[in-house]
Subunit: 345 residues, 2 copies
DNA sequence: GTTTGCATGTCCGACACTGTCATTCTGTGC
DNA sequence: GCACAGAATGACAGTGTCGGACATGCAAAC
């Protein structure tokens, strides 16, 4: 089923069909109707490959995600849910506009990120690219996309630099979480940071530090860190618990690490929230099932990726590219893992 | 960067470059090396669009997944993790062979599945299609793929019919779970089935029934069902708990429903596993974090999707299509949610 | 010196579509 | 009824790649 068949069926030229398909002006309504009838009857769908050859859109948007090297690696880390959420937000929005989202998994630690990315772009010729942490701050990737003159959106704690910035304000999110604990009366608030290769790790620590400073509290010795994995969260929690004066509250940089902290707390006889308050980051579905359900900072990943796709499509349609960063608000959802500190604290 | 640039750079004809790119025979090693050097230096990557136009592969594999209509729907169901796992297994394997996996979300309840699918195929012209439940048994989809002469793999409890069948033996899995409970001494074993539109729901029930019959136990009134959501699992558990003689063990058809059962058990003062044993299906990472960690039937989804991709690529390379279904073994992982029934039971 | 066979080059058409520009229609005003 | 402007439509070339037909070059085998 090609455009030729439709043209023959409707008794018009190829061009006219092409115009109808692409909703261009300059086709009389009754003619458009006749052509559309043929398209529907024959079940014609234009080939993206051929469209792209002819110099038009590819109707493909590339989403760059971090890659685990193997299934076993992913198992060990117990999944991230990020891809799932990216897909949901991004794909549904793409589908609404006749686009498709292609997820490209790129290894942050790879020596030839550039080659991988260039390969994907040359092969697929996407109309736009969405960058998620930790890629959204990678200068190699950004330079390459600029050189190729490809529209891109960067999702993360990114307020400056090229491309459309979709700001998930990690510093502010950490500050809100900290302030909530301060308001409850906590004075020793521990923080488990994420890995350094994610810019957001730094921002979250900054927000925590700032809120602590504002409240006149010391941060010394209260910072631990992990790599977002369950095991690393457990190790970090162990460090904090082992302090001469352990924290009465802990903020974990993602759900896995906070859950690990909850587990270790339970195993070492600490009651949550009576003895220890916990706040998590990300709010993937898991933590609602924890006991107690965890108070968390909601990072609206699905919404952010949906927004990113919208921005790219709007840009393709000729809308001006917003120059200021667009903020995606993080919110604190209070559940049952936070309470006043124990009387002695 | 087109094939022309490479040919000029290496001082050879277009054909020779094409032969090297496609690893065809009839090129002397030293010549191939020279051409490859040019390709690497110029960073040339063949355009999939143009390759496809020339009648060759598209190097795209389509994975058909079930679609939630909106982000809110997905939130309500608290995610499935399926897509994540499909991606991991399928994508990593695709990447190894220079293919790409494109996830297409199709709504089971849509009236025009055929049109949606036809559109995706015509637009992308994938080299192969992977069907997951509930699409893998849909005759509309299967007929369409056969008519289009597209290679496809069906993942699920599917032993007959066209296409390569990747059999996840749900009946056997349910039987193993039931037998484990019978061996522990349980006699009242409840089962929470999945929604009817998933073929696997029926198979799992069959396996449970068969194992119960073999053990000389009655199934009457011990079957409840849900739609895989947390809420429906809770409702099903409530029904089973309300029986005159409630079960001492329950098998849930997926992790969400089993977790809901665990929650309700806790809330109604039932200890797991002392008063009630639980076995879950799927073994997504969530249930390892539950308290107690749930005994579960491991459905190796990531491995199955990896296998599916391998089968498609092997088929494209000319390997004969296996005619018998290929079994992906499910295994019981015993954790801490199963024990002997209470003495009175 | 001829034959054989492989390696390479040349040339052209096919693929499905779009963009440009030329041509044909349409309706309007006289 | 005719000229004319402007819109509607068509003809044609170009896009990057592959495949086929065929010619040529070059080395080894006879």
């Amino acid at each position: 089923m090609t455009i030729k068949h439709v043209a023959a069926d409707a008794g018009v030229s190829l061009q006219t069909v092409s115009r109808v398909v692409n909703k261009e002006t300059g086709v009389r309504p009754q003619m458009a109707e006749r052509v559309q009838a043929s398209i529907d009857r024959l079940g014609y769908v234009p080939s993206i490959a051929a469209q792209r050859m002819g110099g038009s859109r590819s109707y493909l948007i590339l989403a760059l995600n971090d890659r685990e090297r193997t299934i076993a690696d992913w198992r060990a880390r117990q999944g991230t849910d990020w891809v799932d959420q990216m897909l949901l937000g991004g794909m549904l929005t793409c589908a609404e506009h006749g686009y498709r989202l292609i997820v490209e998994l790129v290894d942050t630690h790879s020596d030839h990120i550039e080659r991988e990315l260039l390969g994907a772009i040359a092969a697929l010729q996407p109309d736009g690219v969405i960058l998620t942490p930790p890629h959204s701050g990678n200068p190699l990737i950004i330079d390459l996309l600029e050189a190729q003159d490809i529209r891109f959106v960067r999702i993360g704690s990114i307020s400056e630099g090229p491309g459309v910035r979709l700001m998930m304000d990690d510093a502010r999110a950490a500050r809100i979480a900290t302030e909530h604990l301060v308001a409850l009366g906590h004075r020793r608030i521990g923080f488990i940071a994420g890995p350094a290769e994610y810019e957001l790790s730094g921002w979250r620590v900054d927000g925590w530090r700032a809120a602590m400073a504002d409240a006149g509290l010391a941060c010394t010795d209260l910072l631990a860190s992990g790599d977002f994995s369950h095991a690393s969260g457990r190790a970090a929690a162990r460090t904090l618990f082992a302090l001469p004066e352990p924290p009465t509250a802990i903020i974990g940089s993602n759900d896995q690490m906070t859950l690990a902290t909850l587990e270790l707390a339970r195993e070492t006889g600490r009651r949550v929230p009576e003895d220890l308050s916990l706040i998590s980051f990300d709010d993937t579905p898991i933590i609602r099932l924890a006991h107690p359900p965890l108070t968390a900072i909601v990072q609206p990943i699905a919404e952010a990726s949906a927004r990113a796709v919208s921005l790219i499509i709007a840009g393709l349609a000729g809308d001006p590219t917003p120059d200021a960063p667009i903020t995606v608000a993080a919110e604190l959802t209070v559940r049952r893992s936070t309470a006043r500190p124990p009387a002695s604290g």
